[in-house]
Point group: C2
Chain length 319, copies 2
């Protein structure tokens, strides 16, 4: 049945088809198929986070293939583990989908979840599949801190450097191009930006690396840099200066900005969903490859972008 | 704003209102408000499971209060941890809800999640709130095995007794009464059964207790006794005889059955969602209070209900 649907094969047929695509690892003591999974937590603690993606809100079925949705859904949770300084070990997936969803859609979703997990060595160990009129994917990631304390949002100290790992604004620029194409019935595509929107590539490994270097605070950028640094500044009771001159000019963001009428720094400062990592580190720490300084922690409160006025401050799901 | 909605207060206002209702425990090193939670996993392993409840599929907003939905959603996952022989420590909650959902609905949901967690000492440590056109609640439970091996579905041996902890058929009977009332525009209600449907009460503590007594296999009854024992029998490579004469006659199920035209044993054998625990234990094990023998493991395959022919075999989400 190449075009079989969930209804054709039933709940357990669907689960079997999905589980067949998944891998395992030495961390997994009990994988899919029992009441619950059992995963190693080597240092006696587990990092855990849940993110939910909803069709029509976080992805569109006409823009994202199932594989893209799987990668993006996994990335959102895996980045949260990295932002604590942890290494993800496993994923649990809740899938709500219409009965007429093709089995192939679900297996390609599983492929995407598996492949994104593989980037950090995390495997899908369990989940649940239920009926719904639209697709909702909830992903829980579990991870290990390697004996280190978690890096919270609340530890930034005046004098610390604010540093960035990963891309900013690429996902927002890709989304803006897709929306512009739809609105104009044509227009310009920049594949690498659209791809960054459909499949973000968080710098997972730099999370534990920054933790080991003594990062005092860290978070991933999911709502936009200014918004997320705002959360971090508030939690730490500090002020943060973002130095806009430190962002390298990215010609691709400039091109996208000209197409849709947005300044490229707007993408960088307010675009979410790239799941870059921002951290604060004591001055004097030598930054690893892929990490750049973008600002400074000062006494006070709030976030100021030196040399720029951003046009909005982030993404509120109910605003 | 007594009638404020999620849209009125925004995503972060909603999260603040929800988090305010939650408790904490000694197992929680980092609770809500950071990128991820950090929870103790004392024996170096963590039990983890996710369940998803969808409005209109698993609950109806005209039948279930938000508090009921919270208790029921937590119970589904907490029972899975108990069915591995574990004790739950924490919950992560993904909530998808329309922007016009009242803040009070979300806080009452949180109250329900908190109170059901408190039954076993588990607390809500994190989650995600997103927009959707209907309510979807995904709950991940994490738990601890207390140094014991997990009790899988695959360990049943011929000669073992099949034992039951908790209620069977109450949730199904309560649902049948609600549906009958709706269909007939009136009719009989039996509050204790309707309540069992809206807020199941799994026998959580008996999961670890049966594990400590040497249970060879265990699962919770979420799809119906015959269906779930079928999964257990297949995983273990055994046949299971369910002895229908061992089920005590329950006058309330008899009354409900007469109202809706169903034999009470049908509720018992095929009704899911009570999240009772069924286990197999070696013969000679003295059963604790609240646990009764209901059958026998034999060589072979499949499940036979001795003295009864059930009318269906369980609940398939896509069938």
């Amino acid at each position: 049945m190449p075009d079989a649907t969930a209804r054709d094969v039933g709940e357990f047929g669907l689960i079997d088809a999905v589980v067949e695509r998944l891998g395992t690892s030495a961390s997994v003591l009990v994988g899919p198929g029992d009441d619950a999974a059992v995963v190693l937590a080597p240092d006696g603690r587990v990092v855990a986070t849940t993110d939910v993606l909803v069709e029509g809100v976080h992805f569109r079925l006409d823009w994202s293939r199932a594989y893209d949705v799987g990668r993006k859904a996994a990335a959102a949770s895996l980045a949260d583990v990295a932002a604590m300084g942890g290494t993800a070990t496993s994923l649990l997936v809740g899938l709500a989908a219409p009965p007429d969803v093709p089995v192939s859609w679900a297996t390609e979703l599983a492929d995407g979840l598996r492949d994104e997990g593989e980037v950090v060595g995390a495997v899908v160990v369990g989940g649940d599949t239920v009926t719904s009129d639209r697709v909702v994917v909830s992903v829980t990631a579990l991870g290990d801190l390697g004996g280190r304390p978690p890096v919270l949002r609340s530890g930034a100290q005046p004098g610390d450097r604010v540093v960035l790992a990963g891309r900013l604004g690429w996902s927002a620029a890709g989304l803006a191009l897709l929306q512009h194409q739809q609105a104009t019935g044509g227009g310009v595509s920049i594949d690498v930006l659209v791809r960054a929107h459909l499949q973000p590539t968080p710098p997972y490994a730099l999370g534990p690396e920054l933790a080991a270097l003594g990062a005092t605070a860290m978070c991933d950028v999911s709502d936009g840099l200014v918004a997320d640094l705002g959360h971090l500044a508030r939690a730490s009771g500090v002020h943060i200066d973002v130095e806009s001159r430190r962002f390298a000019r990215e010609p691709l963001l400039g091109r996208a900005g000209r197409v849709v009428g947005v300044h490229p720094l707007d993408f960088v400062l307010t675009g979410g969903e790239d799941h870059a990592l921002v951290a604060t580190v004591p001055s004097g720490v030598a930054l690893p490859d892929g990490v750049t300084r973008i600002g400074l922690v000062r006494p006070g409160k709030g976030v100021r972008v030196v040399g720029w006025k951003p046009s909005s401050t982030g993404w509120d799901h109910f605003g």
